[in-house]
Amino acid sequence: MTQCYILLTTAPNEVPEDTILPKDDFAAVYANAIHGGLDKVLGHSGATAALYHTKMTNNLPDPAEFHRKLLGLFGLEGTLSLERAIVKDLALRLQWSLDLLNIEGSFDFNNTIHAVRSGASV
């Protein structure tokens, strides 16, 4: 089986100026991306159930902790699919071109989210 990984190739200093957000705004976009990404794969019921189950309904998920909880539920491959969906959703919400996401190499959700956050926030 061929595994696909998303590598964020954009360095923070390459982020377009118009996508840089205040920190609070990034949190809202990130939370929406979590919902949107999970919805895309699990459906509304599955996404809501997964967030409820992982106790991430109210708090902004810590990427590392969220990754571990998803692993427990869906295993490695399932978790990778979900995290890729979340990152894609996040990129779309930040109006980053999907070209910026290169599907090769290893993918680390925690690092990716932190990279996006630091690149997109002021």
């Binding site: 699990l42 809501t48 159930a49 409820y52 189950h53 869906f74 399932g78």
Partner: protein, 475 residues
């Protein structure tokens, strides 16, 4: 919702105390495989199974049987249709199984809550088998894409947790679930002359060869029992014959199963046994021989015109186990009309007419009557053998057979006629017979029922003795 969530949490906590299951084995390694007759060929991992069929076909019982077998006491039953108490009332034989599993009543829950329950159940890795009865009740509330995603979520949970998920569905057509699950069993109800016959079909078992797709099963006493294809019995395991006395004023047919089906044979009556071309000879022999042996053991006499293809050695072996050699010599006459040696013994010409055979039979009946304790004789006759012999003169055969039946009605003798389904004189003979039973094969199982009198339908096997029929009611 919260109360249910708490309920699930408490269940997982209780299970933690019970112990941890490996959660890694699949359906192929459990008793379900042998129950469904699949063990010998199930090799691939089966994590998700869909049991589908219209209402009343037995899906829930099958699912509970699988849960009992595969769950090894660590199963969960998620019901969207009936509460636990009602389920136990509907299927009393499964009460213990239901009691031994975790039961979640989700009738008033939404899909999100249910998926959360499943996440809790599967993530705990304590529940080896989780049954959804039924998934469609929830799925029907979702639109197509939402349903597909929810189902994918369930598959992901099943494959990651190591639990086996069994989905019960009342949607007979192909649904999105069909493409996602590892295996599909369809349960259906067929009709055979107003009698219900249950059948399950294995549509899919990923990574597994399926040598037989369809099986007959019964829910007798509320338990799921399936029938393997009929197998020729091992005649080396014949047990001693146990004489069965007359049933009030009727003769016993020499078998508990046959007596229960027909209530014995009234003196002067004719029992017609119709069989189709797929019925194995050994199944017919199990109806042909016990009445003869019982008649002889009751010190009466018998005449046999065997079916075409009868095996003399087996016949001798079976008879020898039932009665002594002297009895066979004195009070049993076997006339194989298709065999030249018998024609010579009976002084019949090679081109004997039906009337000449009839005369031989009449003379033999008269001779053996004198040797019978109460002057009664049992005549067991293959109409097929006579049809083969007199293919060009069936009218005469019908004429003498009719005469025999009418004459016999005025005596205390008993008459059993075997005739093929496609016999050209079938309808005439059946109209004159007092009783009429049919044998046929479906999914490799020999089935039997009485048309006259009307009886339920039974599967014929040889569970106790190779020469005797074991009849299991199909309900």
């Amino acid at each position: 919702m919260m109360s249910q969530v708490e309920q699930v949490k408490s269940l997982t906590q209780v299970d933690h105390l019970i112990g941890t299951g490996s959660g890694q084995s699949d359906l192929a390694e459990t008793r379900i495989a042998s129950i469904l007759g699949l063990k010998q060929f199930m090799q691939g991992p089966i994590r998700t199974l869909l049991i589908k069929g219209v209402a009343g076909t037995g899906k829930t019982t099958v699912a509970l049987e699988i849960l009992k077998a595969a769950g090894l006491g660590k199963g969960a039953y998620i019901s969207s249709r009936v509460p636990k108490e009602m389920l136990e009332t509907h299927i009393p034989a499964m009460k213990e199984t239901i009691e031994n599993q975790e039961f979640l009543d989700i009738r008033l829950e939404d899909a999100t809550s249910v998926l959360d329950f499943v996440m809790q159940l599967s993530q705990s890795k304590k529940y080896k088998t989780i049954v959804f009865d039924s998934w469609d009740a929830l799925a029907k509330e979702m639109d197509r894409s939402e349903r597909l995603r929810a189902e994918k979520t369930l598959m992901g949970l099943a494959h990651n947790s190591g639990s086996q998920f069994i989905f019960v569905s009342e949607e007979p057509g192909a649904t999105t679930m069909d493409y996602l699950v590892d295996g599909i069993l369809e349960v259906s109800m067929l009709e055979e002359q107003d009698r219900a016959v249950r059948e399950f079909t294995i549509h899919k078992l990923r990574g597994t060869r399926i040598p037989q797709r369809k099986y007959i099963f019964t829910l007798l006493e509320g338990k799921f029992t399936f029938f393997e294809p009929y197998s020729i019995p091992d005649y080396s395991k014949i047990s001693e014959f146990v004489q069965r006395p007359d049933i009030a004023s009727s003769y016993s047919l020499g078998s508990g199963g046959l007596d229960r089906l027909f209530g014995g044979m009234i003196p002067g009556s004719t029992l017609a046994i119709e069989y189709d071309e797929n019925v194995p000879y050994s199944a017919l022999r199990a109806i042909e021989i016990p009445p003869i042996i019982n008649f002889l053991s009751m010190k009466r006499s018998a005449i046999l015109l065997p079916l075409p293809g009868a095996n003399d050695q087996i016949m001798d072996l079976v008879l020898a186990k039932g009665v002594d050699a002297l009895t066979i010599k004195d009070r049993l006459s076997i006339l194989n009309v298709l065999r030249t040696s018998d024609l010579k013994t009976s002084n019949l010409p090679k081109n004997a007419t039906p009337r000449e055979v009839h005369e031989v039979l009449t003379n033999e009946t008269t001779r053996l009557r004198e040797k019978s304790i109460d002057k009664t004789v049992l005549i067991v006759k293959s109409v097929s053998a006579l049809e083969n012999l007199f293919a060009s003169d069936l009218d005469s055969l019908l004429e003498v057979t009719s005469q025999e039946i009418i004459t016999l009605q005025q005596s205390h003798d008993a008459h059993i006629l075997f005739l093929a389904k496609d016999s050209p004189i079938r309808s005439r003979i059946l109209s004159m017979s007092s009783s009429y039973a049919k044998l046929f094969v479906r999914d490799g199982t020999v089935l039997m029922f009485g048309v006259k009198p009307h009886t339920d339908i039974y599967a014929l096997q040889h569970l106790e003795d190779p020469t005797s029929p074991s009849l299991t009611e199909l309900v």
